[in-house]
Symmetry: C2
Subunit: 202 residues, 2 copies
């Protein structure tokens, strides 16, 4: 005898295939959905369909948007000379939350990761190079990929390919997080903070 009815089992397995949702969470979510009102359950299902249907990639920065070009790319107040290259749309929202960066973005939708089979063609690098050649006003590319082996490799690859072009390629500083204790800092971070030490300006 099946432990759940087919439609419930199907919902559990669909939920369980989402990232970060294990078997137990999928069960809990499924039963929560079953105990929702008809209206709430339908509006959740519609939200999934709508978001998927209405959302496209911005033809310029490749971020998810419902208007192309996206609000950031079409904002006349943004600094068009700087492009910050990030791995995911979530990184754009993290940068925006900071309210310090006024340039544009480019979303790679991944990083070069030979282990997971993600090649340079699976991410939006060709769109980046195409964009740089069409927009000579771009003077600096900030590689804001994560501080991982794959993020660093992607940053290095881009900087090598762009070195003949004269476009400045920079990388976010790595070092000690604000408020951190030296005692609890891992070796790699400490080594990177030591290597990147800066003069104290008074």
């Amino acid at each position: 005898m099946a432990r759940y009815s087919p439609s419930v089992q199907n919902l559990i397995s669909k939920l369980g295939s989402l990232p970060g949702i294990g078997g137990k969470s999928a069960q809990r979510l499924a039963f929560h959905i079953l105990s929702m009102s008809d209206e709430d359950a339908n509006s959740l299902a519609e939200a999934i369909k709508d978001a998927h249907k209405l959302t496209v990639r911005c033809s310029s920065c490749q971020n998810f948007t419902d208007s192309d070009p996206c609000p950031i790319c079409s904002d006349p107040l943004r600094d068009k000379s700087t492009v910050c290259v990030v791995e995911s749309p979530r990184d754009v929202s993290t940068f925006e939350r900071m309210h310090e960066y006024k340039g544009l973005y480019h979303v790679l939708h991944g990083v070069y990761n030979p282990v997971s089979g993600k090649s340079m063609n699976d991410i939006t690098l060709s769109q980046l190079f195409d964009r740089l050649s069409r927009h000579p006003e771009i003077k600096e590319v900030i590689m804001a990929t994560n501080q991982t082996a794959e993020g660093n490799a992607t940053a290095l690859y881009v900087s090598r390919l762009l070195s003949p072009s004269g476009i400045k390629v920079t990388r976010l500083a790595s070092g000690l997080p604000m408020g951190s204790d030296i005692e609890f800092t891992d070796d790699l971070t400490l080594a990177s903070a030591l290597k990147g030490r800066v003069n104290i300006t008074t």
Copy 2:
């Protein structure tokens, strides 16, 4: 400027209202859904609608089912004289996984919890008493609510109400979990294990 487009923001807030899904997880899930194929996103949305539409409560045991009575209640091989009362449909699946219990179930869909405003009328107690009066073949009610203040209160309430009826009301044993260390056992569990100590049969 909104951080995300309205349809994405709507999806994130809908996902974030599910239990155990915080703001960050909701964002991650939403962007995962956006990067799914059209087909996969639609089948997720349909799974939610289908499960919700096809699933009803079994008129006998109140468990979620797509056929009424549910497969357990309509199984001729189950022992109809015993009803195990649980808080949630997930508890039924935990019992079934054990393959030791052959009786029927009754799902309360909650417990008496005055703090959260859940009264005796919000759970399926009246359906339980109605069922017991219609089925004199039920000789034992096993209260398998959780070992919490609310679960214990609910079990006590049911046992008091049923005491004139002559139906036997039992409670799952509480004590040390199998494989546990005395050293790391909390005081309440140890006290309960001591109080419920049994003769060693050789």
